[in-house]
Symmetry: C2
Subunit: 173 residues, 2 copies
């Protein structure tokens, strides 16, 4: 069936280009799944984080106007619930964020709208010794934001929550 | 030692009364752990709910001013993430709530303060046929609030989100 064959060839070329593009992206960031590694820190969005336990929700005011939820892997949740610092190596915290929108069914309530950023903190006291033991990643649609934004992460955490091992979020009882 | 014996007897009587009271409460609600079963529905706070997956956070405005987070058991999360209704029997949704307080370290943010209520919805289309298949429980410090408050649950859910199987909360992407 020549027409099906032609269709097959037309589909093949974009598929090869996409595969090549992925390979280049992976090589460029120097990691297996490097397409999504943050600059400076090489932090990636962890698999399965959406099913991790809740540490606490939050509301971010103007100008962002976002509902937030910080979740953590098991190491993070245990340490956070006990309130002990510093967090152990292997701790991973992920902050999900959504624009806040009025509930369509209940006027006094605000609920999550469009997802905005996913922000990740990974504890590795050796690898990230220069930044309090933490690696940072800030992602939009799964892709890291630029290096300039990543340069601001530690400075803010250091200025505000150094005595809490650089972590803002407390475990919500 | 007679004085210790007398003290022992004085303590024994309240203990017996408490035990009897618990037995009566248990019989009244028709459940094993009836101390904490809601009136009308006999819903209890499920074990381990604090480690359940997040469905969505929310903000409740005046007069409550609370941060909320709805978590669910595996059945609830699967159904909620797919957005299909009705929810299957066995679905359990738990809403945690805290007073909202300003973050002590970051001015634009609001974070959880004191925990206020825990609210539970249990799906059992047979047992709760009269209320859309849902049993409700509202708890403060682990104890259910009174019957009058529980009479309002279904009326509000029915009036506002009947076409969503009586569930307000949507899965946050």
């Amino acid at each position: 069936m020549p027409s099906d064959l032609r269709k097959g060839r037309r589909l093949l070329i974009p598929a090869v280009l996409v595969a090549a593009g992925l390979a280049v992206a992976a090589a460029g960031a120097g990691q297996g799944d490097a397409k999504s590694a943050s600059p400076i820190f090489g932090v990636t969005v962890p698999d399965g984080y959406r099913s991790w336990q809740l540490i606490a929700p939050a509301l971010e005011g103007e100008p962002l106007n976002e509902l937030r939820a910080v979740v953590g892997n098991d190491i993070a949740v245990r340490a956070s619930a006990r309130g002990t610092v510093p967090f152990p190596d292997g701790t991973v915290l992920v902050k999900l964020a959504w624009k806040r929108v009025p509930s369509p069914e209940f006027e006094p309530a605000t609920v999550p709208g469009r997802a905005t950023t996913v922000q990740v903190m990974v504890k590795d006291a050796t690898r990230y010794a220069a930044t309090g033991g933490w690696g940072f990643g800030r992602f939009i649609d799964g892709e890291p934001v630029d290096e300039a934004q990543h340069e601001t992460c530690f400075a803010c955490h250091e200025a505000r929550v150094k005595d809490r091992d650089f972590v803002f979020t407390r475990y919500a009882p």
